[in-house]
Structure formats: C-alpha cells, structure tokens
C-alpha cells in the first residue's frame, strides 16, 4: 500500500519535472484575480487560490520540488553517513571516538531547530534548504552505518581480506560498504517522507521555497489566512504532505520487515 503511494508520488514528480509542468491541467503561474478563491468544481478540481491559480495543478507541481529536496538530502546523508560510519566502525579506536562524538553533538539538536538555524543563516531558498537539512540527517546514518560496520567487521570474508593484505580503504569500500548499503537504503526510503515533512515546515515558516514556486508547506501558509473562508486552500496541500509521508512510512516499515531479517540472514 505504501509502495503504491510512494511510487505514485515519484512518478508524478518525474513526469511533471520532465515535461516542465506541461502535463498539468492549468498553468500555475498565470494570475487571474477574477477567479480567485473558488471552491472545488469540475473545472478546478481543488478550487483556486487567492491569485486565481488552479490549486490542483499547483499541488501537483510541487511534487518535483519536494522530491528533489528529499532525494538530495537523503542521498547526501546516506553517502556521508555510509563513509563516515563505515570508517568509524571498521577502524575503531580514536577515529571512531571522534566521529561518534561529533555525531552525538549533532544529534543533540532537535532536527527542525538545527535546520532552521542553518537556513536562516544561509538565506531562504530551496537550495539552501537542502544544505540546511542534510546535517540533520547524516548523524543518524553515521550511527546506523557504524553499527552495521561493527557486525560486518567480524565476518569471515573481511578477516580473509585483511589477512591477504588488503588496504583498509579497499576493505571499507569493496566489502563493508556494499554490505551495509541495503540496510541504509531501507531507512532512507522511510526518511524521504520525513524530509518532506521538515522541508514543508521550513517553507511554511518562510525559509524554504519562495513564492511563486509551488511547495506544499508554502501553499499552506499562503492559504492560512483563508482557513475559514476557503478551507480547501490551506487544507489540500497539507493533506498532500500527509498522504506522501504516510506512503513512505508504510513503505519503509514494510521494507524493514522484509529486508532487515534477510539482511541479517545474509551475515549469519
């Protein structure tokens, strides 16, 4: 079930992105004040916003933006975490201590707060949001990777590799990382939804996507003042986030149930 939603979302994001918004029912940038704030109808599936733009199209158009942010953040977090965590786990000693201490410090920050601080330092934009969000996620992946690396470290093929004189770098990259990757990817899929959640909050507050870009959090904040008069305006994009987040969460849960025990089976 989660897989359906998640893939649906990704397909949507990709198609909108590829066609450069052409497949959307309406142009999302044209301002037509005369049809502002119309309730949902056949013509306008979810109604129109305060500038007369079709809300349904705007919501769909936000997909690639959120997808881009989520994938970038999760991607970099996985890469960073993978490398740092594997090195920490495999090498151990002082290196491990230092890396894990630094990780602990980053983990001490509440996620949104850290992202907020960095985003306000860098200035509001989508790109800066990616920069701001990555440090929030990489510590968890570092922790995860290091834990997994510790398990893999004692596997026979690693011992054999070391006995045959391979360099540490070689072992880490050729043996440890490929075995840890599946587990990290499982959590990564779960996190895609979480990144979208936090990014939407950033946009809601004004630090993420900027108008006239469509983004779900931004749309909700734009519609907030019309909550009573035109409730579809703020509610619809928020629901969109909810659906996508649930989708990825279910997907991640399902993947974890399926993949994790098997991954452990691989090692034993």
């Amino acid at each position: 079930m989660g897989a359906v939603i998640a893939t649906g979302f990704l397909i949507l994001a990709i198609s909108v992105w590829i066609t450069n918004n052409a497949i959307l029912p309406f142009n999302i940038y044209v301002i037509t004040p005369s049809i502002a704030l119309q309730p949902p109808s056949f013509a306008h599936f979810l109604g129109t916003d305060d500038l007369g733009r079709d809300l349904f199209s705007r919501i769909l158009a936000a997909a690639p933006i959120d997808a881009e942010v989520a994938l970038s953040v999760v991607g970099s977090a996985v890469v960073f975490g993978l490398i740092l965590g594997s090195v920490a786990g495999y090498v151990g000693g002082l290196v491990e201590e230092i890396i894990m201490r630094v990780t602990d410090v980053f983990l001490a920050f509440p996620g949104l707060v850290l992202a907020l601080a960095i985003a306000s330092a860098l200035g509001p934009s989508v790109f800066n949001s990616i920069l701001a969000l990555t440090p929030v996620w990489w510590p968890s992946y570092t922790r995860l990777a290091r834990g997994e690396a510790l398990t893999v470290k004692s596997r026979q093929f690693v011992e054999a590799s070391r006995a045959s004189g391979q360099t540490t770098g070689h072992i880490v990259f050729k043996h440890i990382i490929p075995n840890i990757l599946p587990v990290l990817l499982v959590y990564a899929t779960l996190d895609i939804g979480n990144v979208i959640l936090v990014f939407s909050v950033l946009s809601f507050i004004g630090l993420g996507a900027q108008p006239p870009l469509p983004e779900w959090g931004l749309l909700t904040s734009q519609g907030e003042q019309y909550l009573v008069s035109a409730p579809w305006y703020p509610i619809a994009p928020a629901v969109a986030i909810l659906i996508v987040a649930i989708g990825f969460s279910l997907l991640g849960d399902g993947l974890r149930d399926v993949l994790d025990p098997r991954v452990r089976g691989l090692f034993s």
Partner: protein, 336 residues
C-alpha cells in the same frame, strides 16, 4: 549521597556535548553566514550601526578569537541584541519562554493521557483491529506536518464548533494575572484569580491538543512494545498462577513495569514538541518562543534565531538528563 553524586556525574558528562553544541552554533552564527555583519545588524541597519556592530561583536578579529568572545558572551548572558526589538536577545527570550513552557507541559500531559492508554490497548489487542486502528491514527498524526493538525484542530474545534478560543493566551478583555512565573495558568492559580484561570485554561486547550495529537505516537509506540515485552516475563505467568485475574495482572503488574522504559522517551518527546511549537504557536498566536521564532525569521532577526536555537537545544539536552534521572529513580533495580 549516592544520588547527588549520580546527578553530578551526569551533569559532567553533559559538558562535552554542550561544548560541541555551542561550537556548532558558533560556526553557524559566524562562519557559514555570507554576510555576518549584515546578519547580526539586521537588514535595515545604517553603515554606522554596522560598524558599531562589528566592533561590539569583534567580527573583525581572527576566527579563534571570535570563538572566545562568543563563548564568553554565551556564558555571561550576552546573547546579542535583537535588531528588531533593540533589546538583548536573552531578555526577549525570557519574556516569551514561560508561555512555551506552559504549552509544552500541557502538551506533555495530554500526550501522556492519550499515549499510555492507547499503548496499553494496542498491546492487549496485539495485531487485532484495535491495534491496527491505533497504529493508523498515531501514524497519521506523526506523518502530518504539525501545521496540518494545528489547522485542522483550529478549523473544527475553533470555528465550526466554536468551543474553544482560537488565539492568544487570554481573552483581550481580561487583565493578565499577577506575574510570578510568567505562566498565566500557574500565576492565576497561585493568586486565586479564578476568572483568569478558567480563561487561560480554555485558551491552552486547542494548541496543546494539536501538539499532542501530532506526537502522541511516540509514547504509544514505546508503551506498546514495552507492554509486549513485559508480557513475556516470568513474573506475569507467576502472577496468573497466584490467581490474579487478567485485569489485575495487566494493570497492577504489567503496566507499572512497562512504564519504566517509557520514561526514556521523554527527551525525544520534548524535542519533537519544541519543534512543533514553532508551528503551532504561529497558528494559534500563542505568545511563546515558537511565535517569537517565526517573527524573528520574518524580520530576518538572526541573533534571535540563534538564541532560540541554543535555548531549545539546551532544553532538550536537559530533558534527556531528567529522563535519565527519572528512570534511575523509578526502577528499583537501579541503586543510586
């Protein structure tokens, strides 16, 4: 005596983390910002103001020296001047903080009231329909952006049903109670101001509930797994053998044992709640730190944002410490 030593030991362990955290905030405040002076002075500062600012914060000094000045400022209470209000950031934070504390406490209470029973229920009906329904509900809460739950609650209970007031801490027609703690509910209770008490309680319901509905899953989840783990333990079987009914075993023995690990989640919960208050306070115009944060961001008030960051982070760290201590105190197996 062992107890005091225990606390001191934990506090000492905090120091490296605090150092690390403040170092990162330093890096964010001074190093990553493209135009440091502009950021700290505010967008409307004049060139003279900019120059004065550079001198005040020693922004022209080498980086390591700047760190020293930064730390000194943190420790002495000089967290910068807010360009929007013109007042020291720490002072502003002090004004807004009590409201957030109040909201957080109310939210935690509601979260516990919802979370623990649902966790127990879910465990008792493991994998049944009730378990899955509960899981779906808290997942929906957890996966909603906090503004969704906030707006939904606002719409339904604030406007459609019009039961609770939708913004602020107190009706504008009433005068706030005598300031002892800064928290309206506590102050009105302490001063016997029943009108204010009822009014402020009424005001806190919506925002606290919105927070609780979003995050109660954290408590439900751990309570459920904790209960399931306790069910496997020998003394449960032995209690049945003693002749206790299922209810007695569950509520006298299982629940109390299950609640112990649940305290570990307190820090996590507070972190989530504080993040959530940023959004919820903005929606409900609740005059706390979150609201202050949104205002600061809108007016590009960087010193305030950094101040809030430090405040929130320290709060979460302390909450985790508190949870640790609570755990040690509650579990009789840990001798302190």
């Amino acid at each position: 005596m062992g107890f005091v030593k225990f606390i001191i030991r934990r506090l000492l362990m905090l120091i490296p983390i605090l150092l690390g955290v403040t170092f990162i905030t330093y890096v964010i405040s001074r190093v990553t910002v493209p135009n440091v002076a502009r950021a700290w002075a505010g967008p409307r500062a004049s060139p003279q103001a900019l120059a004065a600012l550079v001198a005040r914060y020693h922004l022209d000094a080498p980086l390591y020296l700047q760190y020293f000045y930064y730390m000194r400022g943190l420790v002495t209470g000089d967290w910068g001047i807010s360009p929007t209000t013109g007042r020291p950031v720490l002072y502003d934070l002090g004004v807004f903080f009590p409201a957030t504390v109040e909201l957080a406490i109310a939210a935690i209470i509601i979260t516990i009231i919802i979370g623990i029973p649902t966790g127990i229920l879910a465990a008792l009906h493991q994998n049944g329909k009730i378990d899955h329904s509960i899981r779906f509900i808290y997942l929906a809460g957890f996966c909603s952006p906090p503004f969704f739950v906030g707006l939904a609650v606002l719409l339904v209970f604030g406007y459609y049903f019009n039961i609770f007031p939708t913004q602020g801490e107190l009706s504008t027609s009433l005068a706030p109670p005598l300031k002892i703690t800064g928290m309206y509910i506590v102050d009105s209770l302490l001063t016997g101001n029943w009108v204010d008490l009822k009014d402020s309680l009424w005001h806190i319901v919506l925002p606290a509930s919105a927070l609780a509905l979003t995050y109660f899953g954290i408590v439900t989840r751990i309570m459920r797994s904790s209960m399931l783990e306790v069910f496997q333990r020998d003394f449960i079987r032995a209690s049945f053998a003693k002749g206790l009914t299922r209810n007695a075993v569950v509520f006298k023995h299982a629940v109390r044992n299950a609640m112990i690990p649940t305290t570990t989640v307190l820090g996590l919960l507070l972190g989530a709640l504080l993040s959530g208050t940023i959004v919820i306070e903005a929606i409900f115009i609740w005059p706390g730190i979150g609201y202050y944060a949104v205002l600061s961001i809108e007016s590009l008030d960087f010193p305030s944002v950094m101040g809030i960051t430090i405040l929130f982070t320290i709060s979460v760290i302390l909450a985790n410490l508190l949870a640790d201590i609570l755990y040690a105190v509650i579990d009789p197996r840990i001798s302190v």
